[in-house]
Every structure is written in C-alpha cells, then in structure tokens.
C-alpha cells in the first residue's frame, strides 16, 4: 500500500498522541489510580501502535507495543505505578519522538533500536507479573474466522452492555412483535486509517436491514474515532444474526463480526410489556408502534449522524501568509484611495466618500478575521513544559511544581513558533537559578516544594506572558560585584544605578551570575538570547525581583505582526511611523520648558521629569528651523517615559509592516518600513530601543 499520502496526517497525529501520552503519564504519576487517565493512555498508545504499523514503521510499532503491554497491565490492576516505571515510559516516549523526528526528516524511522528501553519494559513486566506472554498475546487478538458462534465468548462484547430503561422497553416491544433483537460486536482491521468512517458505513448497512437501538461507544464517539478497533450494536431486525454478519462483513476493512440474539429475561419482559401497554392506553402518549420504536431508537441515531462538534479545517500556514499579504495589499490600496479622496470636495462627492467609508470598514473587518484565523492558543507551545519541569526536578534534585494559567490565550502563528525557546529558557532559569535547594527552602521556612508559575493573558493589543518563581530572587549585590569584576560598569556607575537598571544588566550579552555552570543553564548566553528573540518579535521583556521572595519575568508581545496602528510624524521633510502602542500622550510645549540637566534635555511633564530625545538629530535628518512651540510625543516603555521631539504630526494610520531586507543596514531604531497611501515609503521606528 502506498502510504506516502498519509505521511503528513501520520506525523501530525503521532505528535498529538505523544503529547497526550506525555500529559497523561504525568497525571498518572500523581494519581496512579485514575482510571480515566489509564484508559486514555492505553487508547493513545494503541492508536499510535496501529498507525505506526500501517505506515510500516516496525521499530516504532514494536516499542509502542511493548509500552502498551505495560499500560495494559496497569489498566488491569496487575501492576503498580512506580516512579521507575514512569521514568522508563518517558524514555520510551522520547525514543518515539526521535523516531518521529527521523521520519519527518527523511521518511524513515532510522536504525536506532532502543533495545535498552525495550529490555527495561520487559523487566518491569516480568517483575510485575511473573511472565510476559499473557499480555503479549492479549494485545493481538486473533484474526481468524467470522462465524456467529465462536467459542471465544470474550469477543461477544455486546453481552456486557448495560441497557437503559427505554432500550429494554424497545427490546421487549420488538420481541412481542416477533422481530429479532440481535447484538453484534464488530472488529475493524487495525490498519484501517479512517475507522470512524468505516464504523459509519457499517452502521449504514445495518440500518438498511433493521434499526440500531444502541451503539457502544456512542455514535458521536464512533465518528470522532474515540474507540479502539471494535464497537458493539443492538439491532432490531427481521434478519438472523448470520445474515447481519454477512452484511457487516461486506464493508471492507472489517476484520471480524460476532453476533447473537439478545433476549430479556422472562420476568423483565413481563414488566416491560406491562409498562408498554400502559403507555399505549394512556392519553398522554397515544402513539403507534412504529413511532414508539422510533422514539427509542432512530432519533438519537439521526442526530448523531450530523457532525456537531469540531468542524475545522487544517490549512497550510503558507496559504494563510499569502492571504495576509493580500489583505495587506488591499489595505495599501485602500489607503491610497483615502489619500486621493482628500483632494476631492466632500460636499460634491458624497457618494464617493460613503463608499470609501464602507470600504474602510470592510477592510478592517477582513483584516481582523484573517488575523483571528492565524491565531493559535499558546497551549501548543506550553503543553510540553510540565514534562520538562518534571525532568528538571529529577535532574536538579529539587522538588518543584509548575502552575500554568491562560493556556487558551491566543497569539499569531509566527509568534507562537518563535516563543517556545525563550519561554523554555526562562523556565529553566527559574528551576535552576531561581529556586533554592530543598534544604535551603526549609531553613528559610518556605514550602520545601518550589513553585513556578506560567501565566498568559491578553492585555489590550498585547499578550502578556509571565514566568514567576518563588525562589531566592535576584541578588543585586551579586550582580554589581560581577559587573564590576568584569568591567561592564565602574563601581561609581553601579552605585548610581537603580535596582531595576541593575537587574537589566542580566540581559546584557554574556553575563551570567551562576558561579557554576550546569548543563541546564548558566553558560551566560541565556537572558540576552531571550531578550533578542522577544525584541525580534516586536515584544519586550522585563524582570522584577524581590530577594528571597522570587523573580518575575514579564514578556509583552504584539497580537499581530503584520499590521498595526501608528502615529505618522514628520521630521523636516521625512515621514516616519511611530507604533501607537508605545505612545502615551502627545504634548505641545514651549521650547523654553525644556531644561538642561546633567547635559541632557529634560521636560517637566506635570510633575514627572522625562528625558527629551531629538529624533531628527538621532536620524541625521536635515535641520529644520527652530520652532517656538514643539511637538513632543511621550512614549512609554515599562515604567520609563521619554519625550520625542518631532516637527509635525500627520495623524493616526493603519500601516502594513514590511521588512527593509537584509542587504541594507539601518539605524537600530528602524524596525521596518511601510507604504503610504501615495505610494511613498515611510520607515517605522521602534521607539523602545531608544529609551
């Protein structure tokens, strides 16, 4: 079978299954008795095995199979969940992930056998059970014959079904009408790719010959593929079980079908017939036989046939990028219409202005919709962190707990792809440097188990992600000492610095306070990388700390990367865009209000002294003639303010952010360029880097 067309689906789904396994095994470690979790693990492992087998990845299948055996024993209560066991299972998951990476790069699973893990799994099984063969056999149900009466009663899973009141009623009714009630259990081939669709087809075939009154798992679960490879059904029919088996077997990819008559016990039959008779004679429900049968059976079936939940489409990110580009183009075109319209008389061309307004509304709605489509919950990045913290906790020998909130906060896809590494860095830092050892924590009267928090939330046009720990906090004295030793700053400079400025030294390249280098962090390339990465995404990162109480890193990211609101300003004849998000206020001040303190220009803004930056001088613009009244754009970064002097304000615009390319160098405050309504190019200034 040519499986290459399924490769992409396989990779995606395997990732999902592995993630689910990771998450659930973590839960299992804490709640070894949690049955739902064990079942979920078993199900994911089983699907994984089936898929790997279908795709012909035998090593992967083998390993999953061995892991599944262990899960199976846990599920049957024959084995206890121990920390060792969890460790081996995690190793197995890592190995599976490696296989997947290999498959992603060259389509083969590679030669790695991971026999050590397989042996470890075997040992665990041997220890837990005494022998391995039982479980090995179990995992592969024999695949012979399709006769109705098989000796293997275990296959007749429908016999174990619990019947609801109304279902029993329907059975009784059918029996009284001399109809057959047949229970069936259908086994689908394990290499079936779309087992949900198969189940649906089988049910459709069965419905042609009778009415399905019960499905287990439910029709919805079947459709969502929430079942292993078998399901059971109760059918009211004129046919014999043998006939039904042959109908079901006519659907391809069905491995085996078992069926038998289902009857109620004499006594039960009597009571249900009694209640049916009462119902029929009652005034409230004067329904014919057929309707009453339908009530119990057909309705839920019909409902379930309609897909309700999760109507989604997987789209290639490149297609979305293309769409976003087109929307950007449209906004540029709209802007040029708007700028052209300013030459017209609004009184005469009312119609035209109405249409322009309409167009503006549509384009901004369109932009918003496309942006929303590109949004991905941050969960896709952070869901691997609990596992990482567990591993760190083991390797560092510190007890710690990760608490996450706001995993459903959404961010642009491009940001999501980039944010993982910086977050991981910060978490590792918190675990390694932030949290004290168990002994120290007890000495300090703290909870011996350290806490790390990862909180995400939306704040206006930004998304904020906080990484917080309740550890020792940042020792500013230590930073000062190291900074002085390394000659980063002189002692005098350091003494004059505020606490915040000292903490900011941590973000400088090649500065790490950890005296010993561990393999987790402490190579001194940590925080500056985080800072660079976040700033490249148009965001910012800040640290706050209190000694012995903990440290908080706050990351602020823009919701979207492609389009933003900006204040257009003029510096002599040149136009520049300032991101609106950074702007606090715009002030009109007399030039005499600007004073010089310590060789820098400052402005007393309603009691706050803020530094003044002459943008024109920084950007080597032509000197414009000195005005008596100055426009000062007050910008904010974190808690710091600064005033930017500009020559003219042009107003607020929606601008499309474009890169100026890799060939031309530019001042570091130029973050990109945009195309104005008249086709001119204006540069976008990242005022953050000025403050």
């Amino acid at each position: 079978m040519d499986v290459s067309q399924y490769l992409e689906i396989f990779i995606e789904e395997t990732k999902e299954h592995l993630q689910s396994l990771n998450e659930h095994i973590l839960i299992l470690e804490k709640e070894p008795e949690n049955e739902a979790t064990i079942n979920e693990i078993f199900r994911a492992a089983h699907s994984l095995k089936g898929m790997a087998g279908t795709m012909g990845y035998q090593k992967m299948q083998r390993l999953t199979h061995d892991m599944e055996n262990v899960f199976s024993e846990i599920r049957n209560g024959k084995m206890k969940v121990t920390s060792d066991l969890i460790d081996v299972l995690f190793k197995g998951l890592d190995a599976l992930e490696n296989y997947l990476v290999n498959i992603q790069t060259d389509g083969t699973e590679g030669d790695q056998e991971y026999s050590d893990i397989i042996d470890a799994l075997k040992q665990i099984l041997d220890k837990g059970l005494g022998n391995v063969t039982v479980s090995a056999e179990k995992a592969k149900p024999d695949s012979q014959g399709t006769t109705a009466v098989s000796e293997n009663t275990g296959k007749f899973k429908f016999k174990a079904l619990k019947l609801e009141e109304h279902e029993k009623k329907a059975i009784a009714k059918a029996t009284s009408l001399n109809l057959n009630v047949v229970g069936m259990t259908i086994y689908i081939q394990e290499d079936c790719v779309l087992k949900g669709a198969r189940a649906f087809m089988i049910n459709k075939v069965l419905e042609e010959h009778g009415e399905i009154i019960k499905l287990y798992p439910s029709a919805q679960d079947l459709e969502d593929e929430k079942f292993d490879f078998d399901f059971s059904a109760l059918v009211i029919t004129n046919e014999t079980p043998e006939k039904l088996i042959s109908y079901a077997m006519s659907v391809s990819e069905v491995k085996e079908v078992v069926a038998d008559y289902v009857r109620l016990e004499e006594k039960e039959y009597g009571t249900y017939m009694e209640s049916i008779r009462q119902d029929e004679s009652g005034v409230a429900a004067p329904k014919g036989e057929k309707e009453s049968l339908k009530d119990g059976s057909q309705k839920p079936q019909k409902q379930a046939a309609k897909p309700i939940a999760n109507r989604s489409v997987r789209v290639d990110i490149e297609k979305l990028d293309e769409l976003m580009n087109l929307v950007s183009e449209l906004i540029i075109a709209k802007n040029s219409l708007v700028s052209y319209s300013s030459t017209l008389d609004q009184q005469i061309h009312t119609e035209f202005f109405d249409q322009i307004e309409y167009l503006e509304r549509i384009t901004s709605n369109l932009h918003e919709s496309v942006m929303k489509v590109r949004m991905v919950p941050i969960e896709t990045v952070v869901n691997r962190f609990p596992r990482m913290i567990r591993d760190l906790s083991k390797s560092l020998g510190k007890e710690m707990e990760l608490y996450m909130t706001g995993e459903d906060t959404e961010l642009d896809r491009t940001v999501i792809d980039e944010i993982g590494d910086p977050l991981m860095h910060l978490l590792r830092n918190a675990a390694d440097h932030g949290l004290e050892s168990r002994e120290d924590r007890i000495k300090l009267g703290k909870n011996p188990v350290g806490s790390i928090y990862l909180n995400a939330y939306q704040d206006g046009n930004n998304v904020v992600i906080e990484v917080r720990d309740d550890g020792r906090g940042i020792d500013t004295e230590k930073i000062k000492k190291v900074a002085a030793e390394r000659g980063v700053y002189t002692k005098e400079q350091l003494d004059r610095m505020s606490e915040k400025e000292i903490i900011d030294i941590l973000f400088m390249p090649s500065f790490s306070t950890s005296s010993k280098v561990s393999d987790i962090s402490g190579r001194g390339v940590g925080l500056d990388v985080v800072k660079t990465k976040i700033e490249a995404l148009g965001g910012e990162v800040e640290a706050k700390s209190k000694l012995h109480e903990g440290t908080t890193f706050t990351i602020r990211l823009p919701l979207t990367l492609a389009i933003m609101q900006a204040l257009m300003v003029k510096l002599s004849s040149e136009k520049y865009a300032l991101p609106l998000g950074n702007i606090q206020t715009v002030e009109h001040v007399d030039k005499n209000e600007i004073k010089i303190v310590n060789n820098t220009e400052v402005l007393n803004l309603r009691g706050t002294i803020i530094p003044i930056i002459r943008l024109g001088e920084i950007l080597d613009c032509e000197k414009s003639k000195e005005q008596d009244e100055l426009f000062v754009v007050v910008v904010k970064k974190g808690e710091r303010l600064a005033g930017l002097v500009v020559d003219e304000l042009m107003g607020q615009y929606e601008i499309v952010i474009k890169s100026i390319g890799k060939f031309i160098k530019a001042h570091k405050i130029v973050s990109g360029a945009t195309i104005l309504g008249n086709g001119e190019v204006a540069l976008i200034l990242d005022v953050n880097s000025l403050i």
């Binding site: 390319g661 031309i664 190019v681």
Partner: protein, 139 residues
C-alpha cells in the same frame, strides 16, 4: 554570456542578464538613517520594499546626477526572494559576448575597487567592465 550594457559617465559596464529582474525609471527614494553610504534608501516596488544603491558611489565615482535617462536596475543577487536596485545613468542594450572576448584582469590586491569587476568584455571597439554582482551587493 549575455549582459546588459549600462553607462555610468563615459564608461560602459555590463551586468549579467541572469541577475536582472527588471528595469524601472527613477523613483522617489526614502532615505534610511545610518545605512551604508552607497545605499540611497528604499523604494516601493509594486508593494515590496527594495533598497536602492548608487552604483556610482559603490564604485567610487562622482555622485549621481539624475536625468531622464537614469534607471534603476532591479537585481536579484542570490536565491533569496530579496531584490536590490542599482542606479545607472543609462541602460543601452542587451549584448551577447563570446567567451574568448572576455578577459579576466589581473588586478592589484590592494585596489579594493577592482574586486567589483568580473572581467573585461570586448564588443566592437568598446570595452565593457563586467560587474561582479555578488561582491558589489554582498557585505
């Protein structure tokens, strides 16, 4: 080898045709602060931002005087999608040069400007300095 023959002052230069994406008339250029001195700024080329270089400044010649014949050659120097504009005084024609008419020049290592040349082509009585585009645009 096919080249586009362009003029800077009285001299002829050749740009290999494989690098050339399009040729456009002079545009308004937005200055980029603190860029390399030979870049005049960026232009809007059908919705894309393209940096524009003064070939005269890059080659150490006198500064440009823009005229109606001034053109911007849009060049793609490598496999990436990014383009660069080169300003020339005039674009003449497309020429086909036989390999034997192209001579590599032995240049003095110290002459930093000479590395911009990929060879001298002879076409009739004209000598054409074929430009080494990757070196001119690279850092």
């Amino acid at each position: 080898m096919q080249i586009i023959d362009v003029r800077l002052g009285n001299d002829l230069y050749g740009i290999e045709i494989k690098y050339v994406n399009s040729i456009i008339v002079m545009q308004s250029i937005t200055r980029v602060p603190k860029s390399q001195p030979y870049y005049l700024g960026v232009i809007n080329l059908r919705g894309e931002i393209v940096p524009v270089m003064s070939l005269r400044r890059r080659l150490g010649l006198e500064d440009d005087v823009f005229s109606s014949s001034t053109r911007i050659m849009i060049i793609k120097p490598d496999d990436s999608a990014e383009s660069v504009g080169l300003i020339v005084d005039e674009v003449n024609e497309v020429l086909t040069l036989a390999e034997e008419n192209i001579k590599n020049i032995n240049y003095d290592e110290k002459d930093s400007k000479a590395v911009f040349s990929a060879g001298i082509g002879k076409f009739g009585n004209d000598l054409i300095n074929i430009l080494n585009i990757p070196v001119i645009i690279g850092k």
